[in-house]
Amino acid sequence: MTIRNLFKKPAFFLAILGFVLLASPVFASELGESIFKLPEWDDLLRVLSLRDYNTRVVVIGTTLLGVASGFVGTFLLLRKRALLSDAISHATLPGICLAFLLLILMGGNGKNFVVLLLGAAVTGTLGMLAVLGISNYTRLKNDTALAVILSVFFAIGIALVGIVSRLPQGNAAGLETYIYGKTASMLMGDAILITVTTAMVSLICLVLFKEFALLCFDQNFASATGWPVPFLDLLMMVLIVVVTVIGLQAVGLILVVALLIIPPAAARFWSDDLRVVFAASGTIGGLSGLLGCTVSALMENLPAGAVIVLAATFFFVLSLCFGLERGLLVRLKKRQELERRVGRQNLLRAIYELKEKMSDKTSPVPVSQVVAKRSWKEKAVMRLYRQAARIHLITKTPDNSFVLTEEGEKRAARIVRNHRLWEMYLITHADIAPNHVDRDADMIEHILDEELISELERLVQLKDDKQNGSPPPSPHEDLSFNERAALS
């Protein structure tokens, strides 16, 4: 289905609207009464000014995490591996549990989060490699490989959680936080870890920006020019694993995926330039972290991880609608402009061609004739007329006839000339019957540029006065042209 058809369906706009509704926490507040207590002004000030030690740690940590995941997520998205992050994040669970078990076996209490995260990184990397291995070495496609690894690793993880929780000295409560995140109870140690790691990840992304970009856009070219593609690829994926593992702490293993996918997906609507997308993605990620944390700190009983994700979704919907490069509104506007221009040009040509056939070339053209010419509806013609009249191309006489202004005359002549040039070209060079060319030319006349026009003039050997003369006669009505074409 083309975009054109989509835009005509109000259902899709309703869908977007529904999505916005569903995605906003406001929805929740409508369902249960007085779920949200609006914050007091003092609370607002306290949170926004980062006066609280705890708020400060959490806000800084999640913002940085958002920035870093926005950065690496851009590459992930461009490599069309967005869902790999989903598989990686689920694959970290067995690692956490194994590290926990190891710590207990060595006599600890299993609460050393650096070791747990190392375990997560190990199985996360393993899962990532397994996905790539399955899609490279078996018949199965990427999506199946993702689903298999994701579910199996997670199953093993849950089985291990079960074992841990049944251990006499085990206390699995700590492990659950990795599934849902524990943003609100983030400690200084976590924040330092996040700061250091995200700084490193961002730095690597910036230093290797050119190489990663090349890998995303043309892997074969990269390997042909001698870049160590497998190494770069692995490095990129390891960065993803690192961000995922760090994110586990903050937002939990299911929602960290959102931070890797949504910001770059939103950023994609703003530009086609990778540098801009990269920066925008980092910004959106950071803003989501900031906004989400602030909101969840202000309101009671809102899980911070989920609010951060919804903040990202909010930016996504915003970008989807208003993005400057690929946003719906911009594309809709561009489409509308094109449609208007095409309609106006069709009107001008219709009037011009009707005028040509009249004995008195300066007499006005009755609206009824114009309406009949292209099987238009009168309403559509009048709408086009009003648009054209606004820029002084056409005027209307009291007896309901069109008159072209001087500018309108000039433009109409040019369009008619383009139309006939293409018709001539089709007849002489594409061997199409003269009575079949009108429709083809009708579509292309609006988009012919100067260069193409001069090329066409050369090909059909048309030498007339471009500026002031009238266009050549229509080739499918001009018998002499057909004869010449037949002879050549």
């Binding site: 018949r139 199953a155 251990l167 997906a265």
Partner: protein, 440 residues
């Protein structure tokens, strides 16, 4: 630990829901939409939460309907975002399902005050508790409700697939063709997705929202490595589903005991068991598994090495007709540029076949080996002649091609080559083309 009727019911519940999932999941695998299963299984959470909040109760039906609606909405939203933006399907899925999951988490947290709803239960499921909740059916009163529900879904899915078998087959293998035939693919797609959402909801009460993906996708993935035909694929996927349920529960209650831990959750072990089955299939599936392909390749290259040894010995004999010099293993090694291990295996193989024999320090061809070698060399030189005479290649460019072709040239081909090249007695390098010997 003893196996009781309780365990049997757990396995039956697990197996039935796995079978119901596997049937539809196989189509997801074929349609390259596996991750849609993942997306749906995450997004049923908000559906359940909304139903809980609206009805303020733990009735199954509202929850079920809410989850189905959100499941289908997920499919619709993913497709809308995919079409409206230029994002690839994976990314649109990632955006939608994480957002909806976040909504679900918030709603559950909000609902926690007045509804007892544990996200952990939604996430991991508890097949162990299934046999407690029983219904009376078929004159028995100990049939778990979950077994009845899963069994019903298995039958519904089976009916759906049997009725629309032809259409689903077309949809899975060539969607454009299906559309051009006038099939209502949209209807089929959405009815399948609705059914899937319903099945996922029914299953995840017992196995949890993420493990249900293992039941959906893994059996289909295993089966699709073993066959390319749809019917056997579906049957195999159901068999894999049963195996993972039975094996999973078995592992869950027997393995932890070895480490002095009572047991672990059966649902997750069923997922792990499915993964184990997948690993075995991915490694050993005939013609498709990683190891079986590797073995096949090794056998092939060993066969070629054996041929090369015979050819080398034959050429040595040509240069030295009395057979005074029999080349040693070391000489073979440097001449054929092979590692000693595979060379040793190849030589043992040839000795077992009686094609070569040890002669003093070196090796020599037996009569049977000489026949095979002569035909090989004949093939090689015939090909060289053919390539130069008929294909117009330069004489110094044909050796490598002939080296490859000699291994797969049959007697008939040799006869024909000889005929085409007018039974010449010498190849382009002026070596004699030996006559055909024995029966190949």
């Amino acid at each position: 630990m003893m196996w009781t009727s309780y365990d049997t019911w757990i396995v039956v519940v697990g197996a039935l829901s796995a079978m119901a999932c596997a049937l539809l999941g196989s189509f997801l695998v074929l349609r390259r939409m596996s991750m849609m299963g993942d997306a749906i299984s995450h997004t049923v959470l908000p559906g359940i939460a909304v139903a809980y909040i609206l009805t303020q109760s733990r009735e199954s039906w509202p929850m079920f309907i809410g989850a189905c609606i959100v499941g289908v909405l997920t499919v619709f939203l993913v497709e809308s975002v995919h079409k409206l933006s230029d994002l690839d399907e994976g990314a649109s899925m990632g955006v939608i399902f994480t957002s909806l999951f976040a909504v679900g988490l918030i709603l559950i947290r909000q609902a926690a005050d007045y509804v007892d709803l544990d996200p952990g239960c939604v996430l991991y499921g508890a097949v162990e508790y299934a046999p407690i909740d029983t219904v009376e059916m078929f004159g028995r009163d100990d049939i778990p409700r979950a077994a009845a529900v899963s069994g019903a879904f298995f039958l519904i899915n089976l009916t759906f697939i049997s009725v629309f078998f032809k259409e689903l087959k077309l949809l899975s293998f060539d969607q454009n063709f299906a559309v051009s035939l006038g099939l209502n693919t949209k209807f089929l797609h959405y009815s399948m997705m609705t059914l899937m959402a319903a099945t996922v909801v029914s299953a995840f009460e017992t196995v949890g929202s993420i493990l249900v993906i293992a039941m959906l996708i893994v059996p289909g993935a295993c089966a699709s490595l073993l066959t390319r035909r749809l019917k056997p694929l579906l049957i195999l996927s159901v068999i894999f589903a049963i195996f993972s349920a039975v094996g999973g529960h078995f592992l869950a209650i027997y393995i932890p005991v070895k480490f002095d831990i009572p047991d672990t959750s059966s649902a997750s072990m069923m997922g792990a068991m499915a993964g184990l089955l997948f690993l075995v299939v991915a490694l050993f599936a005939p013609g498709e598994g990683v190891l079986s392909r590797m073995a096949h390749k090794t056998f092939l290259s060993l066969g070629i090495l054996r041929d090369d040894i015979l050819g080398f010995l034959y050429r040595c004999k040509e240069l030295d007709p009395e057979g005074k010099l029999s080349p040693s293993t070391g000489q073979l090694k440097s001449a054929l540029n092979e590692n000693s291990f595979s060379l040793w295996i190849a030589i043992q193989g040839l000795k077992m076949k009686g094609a070569i024999a040890t002669a003093g320090e070196g090796l020599t061809l037996t009569e049977a080996g000489a026949h095979r070698a002569q035909n090989l060399v004949r093939s090689h030189r015939l090909w060289e002649t053919y390539l130069v005479e008929k294909m117009g290649l330069a004489p110094d460019h044909v050796h490598n091609t002939a080296e490859q072709l000699e291994h797969i040239t049959t007697r008939d081909m040799r006869d024909q080559l000889a005929q085409i090249t007018a039974n010449q007695s010498e190849d382009p390098h002026h070596s004699a083309i030996p006559p055909e010997e024995g029966n190949g």
